[in-house]
Symmetry: C2
Subunit: 271 residues, 2 copies
């Protein structure tokens, strides 16, 4: 069974797609063909979206699901004339929210992922630059870091830091534990000074070898023996130092990010 | 007026917060205090969430908004016993979707941002590594690139590439136009070979000077004269080469990413 799903918005359609994806994962047995239509902000774009929905309806022999988050009510009504099954994001929630708040919604398009708060947007760009300039031990000055992820090479530190910087505006540095750190079973001095900001990432040794093998096939670096030694040494080092540790083998960067921020009590708003 | 808003989930709460933010932006006159409570997956965590909601209700003198996307119905019912105004993400949409699809939802927690599809997750990590190793002209080999962003230094290329890699699994490279490129008014040879994948980012000269000034105060690099010259030269170069151009001055990286993918016809699913 295949069904087409549309994510339609007068903005980027990113919220719509995030929302839609989350709901679609609850129907793992259905094969979905997913189509994003962003920036539907005039009648021509709306009409073209209606046509694409109707074409999909004919092709599938079943009404497509249409996740709609167009704020403009006229354009939103236009979509309702299609053969799609409309799931309207704003009408589901704005009414109840207005009631709870006693305030009418603004009904302006593109507010979710536009630059509505310049300072917050700049903080986020600054955090991203910070993560890049403090990636992989490039800079070892951590005074301005909100947190420092440590772990062996390829344990997931870099993408997790970038994700936290881009989405939470968190200045996330990362440092790869070296063989000499592992042998000495001590955090280096420049990290001890910031120990309350240090979090460890751990990964299964077999999985680590697999990941490293795709990068440097047949090397000592990617050998099972080396990987297991590094992982075990890192675990005992971090335990001895009292550094909290999270396991990345079966977790996504979103899950790790969420856990790390909770652990450090960094209650930042998401972008 | 201040109102507390909770984002509560048995997963990362990232979808919940994305959804909630998008809706909150429609009420720009209300000051919201936002609290994320992820991983509410047992009764103790549910009870603790209820207590936090009730405390906020007393403090604010008004019911907090509670964006709830707990899949487990028992825990979800537990939240409903709080003094919060519950906006239930799943119950709003899963019912209608089940009806449209003729299939019952799985009702499993944490599917949205867990590693449900290992291959897609790995593609995404690979794309992130690609973006890093092809950032800022570090590597000029673009055979495997899905797209190449070009523009003057500090026009927003790097964060946009990282965003596209992390969220769309797109291998996004970027290349900073050099003075010599600008003077010759030609794309360098290694880019001409991939011209169908090249997209330009443009920025306002005054804004560029402002951004550069925070990085290298008082330098030629950040002078108004230099910035205006670079921006104007880049624009004429890109126009002459027939490269599509997007303006980043008032746009967020999400907006740019969405526009660029649409321009190149890269219909990738979001992560």
């Amino acid at each position: 069974m295949q069904r087409t799903v549309f994510f339609i918005s007068d903005g980027t359609a990113i919220t719509t797609e995030t929302l839609g994806h989350s709901l679609l994962t609850q129907f793992p047995d259905v094969r979905f063909r997913q189509v994003r239509i962003p920036f539907v902000s005039d009648k021509a774009a709306g009409q073209s979206a209606v046509e694409r929905i109707n074409e999909a309806a004919e092709k599938d022999g079943a009404p497509p699901l249409v996740f709609n988050s167009i704020v403009n009510t006229e354009l939103s009504d236009l979509l309702s004339t299609s053969q799609g099954y409309i799931l309207d994001f704003f009408s589901a929630f704005l009414g109840p929210m207005a009631e709870a708040l006693g305030v009418e919604p603004r009904r302006e398009a593109g507010r979710a992922h536009g630059v509505t708060d310049v300072q917050r947007y700049e903080d986020r760009m600054e955090a991203t630059n910070y993560a890049l300039s403090h990636d992989d031990g490039v800079s070892l000055t951590y005074d301005n870091a909100d947190l420092i992820l440590v772990g062996v090479s390829r344990s997931g530190k870099t993408p997790t830091c970038l994700y936290m910087a881009l989405h939470f505006g968190v200045k996330a540095a990362n440092y790869p534990l070296t063989e000499s750190d592992l042998e000495s079973q001590r955090l280096p001095t420049f990290l001890r000074a910031h120990k309350q900001k240090v979090v460890g990432l751990m990964i299964d040794g077999d999985r680590l070898a697999q990941i490293r093998e795709t990068r440097r096939p047949g090397s000592r670096y990617s050998s099972l023996k080396q990987c297991h030694w590094e992982v075990e040494s890192a675990e005992s080092l971090l335990r001895a130092e009292g550094v909290p540790v999270f396991y990345t083998t079966h977790s996504s960067i979103e899950e790790i990010a969420s856990l790390v921020l909770m652990q450090l009590g960094l209650q930042r708003e998401m972008f």
